[in-house]
């Protein structure tokens, strides 16, 4: 299909446009509302996300599943893949806004900026999921990064939060600079920024001997630095525990789910579309390099999580490990691997956000993020403790919870490609992860605290908690999610 021109593209771009319009509306509403306690801006941003979701569903009905629509002269592309990630990111942002409404960390004076930035970062992530041009890839990545830096350091007068933002931007700026250098090399070799042409061009210059395999390898390694930093894969994961610990809890939840999902969207599109041609993959064994990165990522994440005492930091390492599991699917570059990643991302969204919601609740009520603060939670708040146990066991991958089925699909795809050693390492890692997740469960159920007063939560809290807990139990048992994630393809 011919790329659409700018004006024709606007109709297909309506989800993103709505997000920007509502971000501006949030800033204006924040200026007009005098009452600082008012939560109007949060509801406006929720309405914006709702409108955007409707627009996504409408644009989705316009596309034919086999033929993606290139927009804006081929800068971005609307296809089932982009729609899937947009819906996933919207759900994560909605959850983050609901957490923020209940979090007591955030400064009420800065509400307008906070919600406008959240909408802006979602906008950037939408672009990350759909960009098919080197320029667009870099701009979307930077839009997401710059807003995330500000959000991570959003707690004024909190040294931890400022330090988190400082470490985040130092690592992030170097990683994205390195990535840009890699992109410029690819641009030089291919003479074009369009991903689908790059694969043809690079294949032909490699064949004619104009460019050596080594230089392609160096360029892609540089690009992997930028993408690897977004998905927190080893060796670019150093920032993530510190940032996750220092940032406000809703933002930590957001970064661990949405930022990672958007990073994977970019990663998958870049490798499948840009370097999916067998000629390029033959000369360089990408699968093997990525498999080693994947194995290292999950092992480092799980081993570093073992001694942690702060639940936020523990969940940060756990999310590094889950990035490693997801990378197993990316290694394959097959439709089965893709389907497994999509399914795992759905599962991961619910279980990880749920776990972070409990962290928000305990930080509000008990005023601590340490595992010691979870002692005796089973008697003080039985429902919350039960939900936390479900999320943690699902993160470990214990049947019949969703996490088990997510891992099952991933391992199945990996074994189908004959990478037995990688599946074995993944299995060992799941066993190791049981130890640190179970430590929190042990503190909740088998230890007692001096403070035995029951914690009281509102009905809304329980409703939101069950929104995460119920899917975590049932997603794996329902067939519809498998068929749904299998149907999405990437061309």
């Amino acid at each position: 299909m011919e790329p659409l021109k700018n004006i024709e593209s606007l109709a297909y771009f309506s989800p993103e446009i709505l997000l920007v319009v509502f971000a501006a509306a949030v800033i204006i509403a924040d200026l007009l509302v005098k009452n600082r306690e008012s939560e109007l801006v949060a509801y406006i941003s929720l309405a914006g996300l709702g409108c955007s979701l409707v627009a996504i569903l409408i644009t989705n009905s316009l596309i034919n599943s086999n033929e993606p629509i290139p927009l804006f002269f081929g800068m971005i592309r609307l296809d089932g893949f982009a729609v899937f990630f947009k819906i996933l990111l919207l759900l994560a942002t909605t959850a983050t806004i609901l957490f923020s409404l209940r979090s007591e960390e955030l400064d009420v004076k800065l509400k307008g900026e906070y919600y406008a930035l959240l909408l802006a970062v979602t906008f950037g992530m939408f672009l990350m999921a759909s960009s098919t041009n080197l320029l667009m890839i870099f701009i979307s990545l930077e839009t997401v990064s710059l807003t995330s830096y500000i959000l991570a350091g959003f707690l004024t007068h909190s040294p931890r939060s400022s330090e988190a933002a400082f470490k985040y931007i130092t690592y992030g700026a170097v990683a994205s600079g390195t990535m840009l250098f890699g992109l410029s090399m690819i641009f030089g070799m291919a003479g074009t920024g369009d991903l689908s042409q790059i694969s043809l061009q690079i294949a032909s210059v490699l064949e004619s001997g104009g460019v050596s395999t080594l230089s392609v390898l160096i360029a892609i390694t540089f690009i992997l630095a930028g993408i690897g930093y977004k998905i927190a894969s080893v060796p670019f994961h150093m920032w993530s525990p510190d940032v996750y610990e220092g940032a406000p809890i809703p933002i930590t939840a957001f970064l661990s789910v949405a930022s990672k999902a958007a990073g994977f969207a970019l990663f998958l599109r870049f490798f499948h579309v840009g370097f999916g041609k067998p000629e390029i993959l033959q000369s360089i064994d990408w699968g093997f390099i990525l498999a080693i990165v994947s194995a290292l990522t999950m092992t480092v994440g799980n081993l570093a999580a073992l001694p942690q005492r702060n639940v936020k930091r523990l969940l940060a390492y756990s999310s590094i490990a889950h990035g490693g599991y997801l990378l197993m699917g990316a290694v394959l570059l097959t439709p089965e691997g893709l389907g497994a990643i999509f399914f795992y991302l759905i599962v991961y969204l619910f279980m990880n956000l749920g776990a972070f919601y409990v962290v928000v609740l305990i930080a509000n009520e008990a005023g601590t993020e340490m595992i010691d603060g979870y002692r005796g939670l089973a008697t003080r708040a039985p429902l919350v403790a039960g939900a936390m146990a479900i999320f943690l066991f699902s993160l470990t991958g214990i049947p019949p919870l969703a996490g088990f089925f997510g891992k099952w699909v991933l391992f199945y795809a990996v074994i189908g490609e004959g990478l037995y050693w990688l599946a074995f390492i993944g299995l060992l890692n799941s066993v190791v992860s049981l130890y640190y997740y179970a430590r929190i469960v042990k503190a909740m159920y088998f230890e007692t605290s001096e403070d035995t007063n029951g914690l009281s939560f509102s009905t809304g809290t329980f409703a939101l908690l069950s929104v995460f807990a119920i899917p975590t139990i049932f997603i794996g048992l329902l067939n519809i999610f498998y068929t749904f994630s299998d149907k999405i393809t990437l061309q």
């Binding site: 080197l134 320029l135 870099f138 701009i139 930077e142 710059l146 830096y149 500000i150 350091g153 004024t156 007068h157 909190s158 040294p159 931890r160 400022s162 330090e163 988190a164 933002a165 400082f166 470490k167 931007i169 130092t170 700026a173 170097v174 600079g177 390195t178 840009l180 250098f181 992109l183 410029s184 090399m185 641009f187 030089g188 003479g191 074009t192 920024g193 525990p241 510190d242 610990e245 220092g246 001694p307 942690q308 702060n310 930091r313």
Partner: protein, 110 residues
């Protein structure tokens, strides 16, 4: 000047930027290193665009494509945005820690 001259200069700039980021003990110097990295990328884009992308002949005259130059302009804009955010965060760091040395801003560990 040939393409190689530009590529050598941009590689030197890039290496100097990485060196500055790794060795400097002051947040502002780190920011300067990052700017060097971004500028080396811009130089690369413009050089590649001038030497590699083919000129098209439109109505009898040679017309160059400006893809790389456009990317470089966006690169400059994003570098400016990044510098603004970085400086704001350095201010916040100075207010909380009374120092902008990265090795003194290190309470989160483990």
């Amino acid at each position: 000047m040939s393409l190689q001259h530009y590529l050598v200069i941009s590689s030197i700039l890039f290496s100097l930027g990485i060196f500055a980021v790794l060795t400097r003990k002051n947040a502002i110097s780190i920011l300067m290193g990052i700017e060097l990295i971004l500028n080396s990328c811009n130089l690369n884009f413009v050089a590649f665009s001038r030497f590699v992308t083919p000129a098209e002949t439109i109505v009898g005259s040679e017309v160059f494509r400006f893809d790389g130059q456009i990317i470089a302009i966006f690169g400059i804009v994003l570098a400016a945005a990044e510098a603004a955010v970085f400086l704001a965060i350095i201010l916040a760091i100075y207010r909380e820690f009374g120092s902008i040395r990265p090795d003194e801003v290190d309470t989160l560990k483990g």
